[in-house]
């Protein structure tokens, strides 16, 4: 029976179908941009990091307008939502600890090894994040992003910087650029490909008219 109706595949397809609008990429792109901005300026872009944290609220508003009238709405199972939230928060916590909290607590600038270590750790973490999502959802789109994050890591490692913070900033900028562009492209394609379906609206009006 599992071969006739593959429930796991169906669950994965549901996730992919409800997230084909590119918002996941956009949120991650904004988050990375906020991190890069914080490292570069140490001022307001920290607010951008807050955007992904409040994502469920503003994403629902935007999706109500653009996504749900096109593809409909499905609430994922509580179990899947919990797993995704746990994964995303663990990752966000890891990045925030690594980039903001640890350097603030320890004057680690003097340790030269930190210079290379921080890039590699962040590169690997990002690679694992996308490869993990790719593995769970069996979507090629996330595998591509994991390869891109690895490429960004290589680029950042090749370029020589005076301060290790600049290399991290470049890494996050490259990643945020790629993610935001792919998010926007996915969103435009989604809007173009799938028209608004107001069949239920029309049917309701017809039923009222017939009554």
């Amino acid at each position: 029976m599992n071969n006739i109706i593959d429930m796991k595949k169906l669950e994965k397809n549901t996730f992919l179908d409800t997230n084909q609008d590119g918002f996941i990429e956009l949120i991650l792109g904004i988050f990375y941009f906020g991190i890069a901005g914080y490292i570069g300026t140490k001022t307001f872009p920290i607010l951008l990091i807050m955007l992904p944290i409040f994502a469920p609220i503003w994403m629902k508003l935007v999706r109500n307008k653009f996504t749900y009238p096109r593809i409909g709405y499905a609430t994922p199972k509580n179990r899947s939502t919990k797993t995704i939230i746990q994964l995303v928060f663990s990752y966000l916590l890891f990045v925030i600890c690594f980039v903001i909290i640890i350097p603030l607590l320890i004057n680690i600038n003097n340790i030269q090894i930190w210079d290379n270590l921080v890039q590699i750790m962040l590169g690997i973490a990002t690679f694992i994040l996308f490869a993990g999502i790719g593995y769970i959802t069996t979507s090629l789109r996330y595998y591509r992003l994991s390869v891109l994050s690895f490429s960004c890591l290589v680029i950042v490692s090749i370029v020589e910087f005076d301060d290790f913070r600049n290399s991290i900033e470049l890494f996050f900028l490259l990643m945020s650029g790629i993610l935001m562009i792919s998010g926007i492209v996915l969103f435009i394609n989604f809007i173009k490909k799938i028209p608004i379906n107001d069949m239920e609206d029309v049917h309701e009006a017809e039923t009222k008219k017939n009554k």
Binding site: I71, G72, M199, E200, E204
Partner: protein, 108 residues
């Protein structure tokens, strides 16, 4: 030879216990899609199952009568919005159907 035929007959008779309400291809698709989510709206199920508006409405009514799904209507702004949810009874029935079919195909 007779034993073999008896075994085949036994296998086929196990099909009689299969829930015919779910066994219909369209309703099976609806139930399977609702099984993997908490709830979904009409448009989502219509897109996933490739059923027409009238067809889906009719199958959902059948499933609602059997208390396998609950259908709630609400308005978002001025637009009607139909939310469909698989009930506990529906979930159990689907799992039972799945188990029955699995057993049947394993015996074949």
């Amino acid at each position: 030879m007779r034993q073999k035929q008896k075994k085949t007959n036994d296998n086929l008779s196990s099909l009689q216990t299969v829930d015919k309400l779910i066994h219909s291809p369209a309703r099976l698709r609806i139930m399977a899609h609702l099984f993997v989510v908490e709830n979904a709206d009409f448009l989502y199920i219509m897109r996933q199952t490739d059923l027409t508006f009238g067809n889906l409405s009719s199958h959902l009514n059948t499933l609602e009568k059997a208390a396998y799904v609950t259908i709630s209507k609400e308005f978002i702004g001025k637009k009607p919005h139909t939310l469909i949810k698989l009930t506990d009874k529906g979930r159990e029935a689907f799992l039972h159907y799945k188990k029955n079919m699995q057993q049947f195909f394993n015996k074949l």
